[in-house]
């Protein structure tokens, strides 16, 4: 029996969808004793009032929070009241049966997903490799020929050359339904600047993006640029590659000379 990578990532996604984050902190100081999951820090905004900050912003505010605390300072009761939920954190207050707000020595908070922001980091392994795309033209075909690299919104990427042929590099994302969850940035490195999509900015991959080097002059031309593909929600770069485009003449095999 073969264990497929996609199946394994499905398993990770299923378990990951439980999305449990939790923190146990000292309410007198806000210092975290222990935590797990998407917890960055706790801020004690004032006495008995705290904001739990997330490492990665959640995709929505529609998650569940449950919390428990010890008795608040100067009182023999304590319970937690929810104040607000945002994508970046949750604010709570520790209150007592008199309605007062006070620090609790122990505050426990459990946050339950789902959080689609983490989905793409578990699924859809990006497999972008370095590529060299070359078009070779003959002397008779001077000024024609181009080399193009494309990332498509169906999750595939490919090369296309005017004279030397074209082909697919397969898929750059395992789950094509997640293709529009990614974006690409091209960074120009050397040679002649190609035409097509922009450089230096993150481009949504819900649209096809391409970079093309056309030989519009009578000499060899080339360029190199780097592409980075990242998950839009988590901003994690999932794949990078160096792309070389070249339009070449065949070697000089005869003629000329003295």
């Amino acid at each position: 029996m073969v264990i497929r990578r996609t199946k394994l990532n499905e398993l990770i996604a299923a378990v990951g969808s439980i999305e449990v984050s939790w923190v146990n902190f000292n309410g007198s100081t806000g210092v975290i004793r222990e935590s797990a999951g998407n917890i960055a820090s706790v801020t004690r905004t004032s006495s008995g009032q705290y904001t739990i900050n997330y490492t990665t912003p959640r995709a929505s505010v529609n998650y569940a929070v449950k919390a428990l605390c010890t008795a608040t300072a100067g009182n023999d009761t304590g319970f937690v009241q929810l104040v607000s939920l945002t994508r970046s954190g949750v604010s709570i207050q520790c209150r007592n049966d008199d309605g007062g707000i006070g620090d609790s020595t122990r505050v426990c908070v459990v946050i339950l997903g789902p959080d689609p922001n983490n989905r793409s980091t578990a699924l859809s392994a990006v497999t972008v490799a370095d590529r060299t795309i070359q078009d070779t033209i003959t002397v008779a075909e001077l000024s024609t020929g181009s080399a193009r690299y494309s990332l498509f919104n169906d999750g595939t990427h490919s090369f296309a050359t005017t004279l030397s042929g074209s082909g697919s590099y397969g898929t750059w994302v395992e789950d094509v339904t997640e293709a529009d969850s990614f974006e690409v940035r091209a960074t120009f490195q050397a040679g002649q600047v190609p035409s097509g999509s922009a450089f230096g900015e993150w481009l949504d991959l819900s649209l096809t993006r391409f970079w093309e080097l056309a030989n519009s002059v009578y000499f060899e031309t080339w360029c190199t640029f780097r592409i980075d593909v990242r998950d839009k929600a988590s901003l994690q770069v999932r794949g990078s590659a160096l792309i070389t485009l070249a339009v070449q003449f065949p070697p000089d095999t005869g003629g000329g000379g003295s």
Binding site: V20, N24, E34, A36, L68, G78
Partner: protein
């Protein structure tokens, strides 16, 4: 590492499988639903829960089957209205590696039994 941050984007290795198993185990979720009135009885529980003891009126100790690595896990709980009152909330009293103590209180500050108490323990 959180399970959601694991991605298999290369060869499937034993290390990668173990990383996934470790992440699943790290979730460490246990829960219990019990009747806190009179003679305490567990309705259902999952994970590292050995039992529950009623220390006194509205005061309960949830014990763990296996001692936790630390006492700094997260415990949250909810209860029905306490006996003789129309409100009820759970207060944390103490955490140890072997158990946690909770009180069911009402808006007068009194501790009273609750008919249904749910406790969720994560981590540790």
């Amino acid at each position: 590492m959180a399970i959601s941050n694991i991605a298999v984007d290369g060869p499937i290795t034993a290390d990668k499988i173990n990383e996934i198993i470790d992440a699943i185990n790290a979730l460490e979720i246990s829960w219990i639903n019990f009747n806190g009135s009179g003679s305490v009885s567990i309705r259902a529980s999952v994970g590292n829960i050995a039992g529950v003891t009623r220390l006194s009126s509205g005061q309960y100790r949830v014990t763990f089957t296996t001692a936790r690595a630390s006492s700094d896990y997260a415990v949250v709980a909810t209860c029905t209205a306490t006996a003789g009152n129309d409100t009820g909330f759970v207060m944390l009293v103490a955490q140890a590696t072997t158990h946690c103590d909770i009180y069911c209180r009402n808006d007068d500050g009194g501790a009273n039994d609750c008919s249904t108490i749910s406790v969720l323990v994560v981590g540790g």
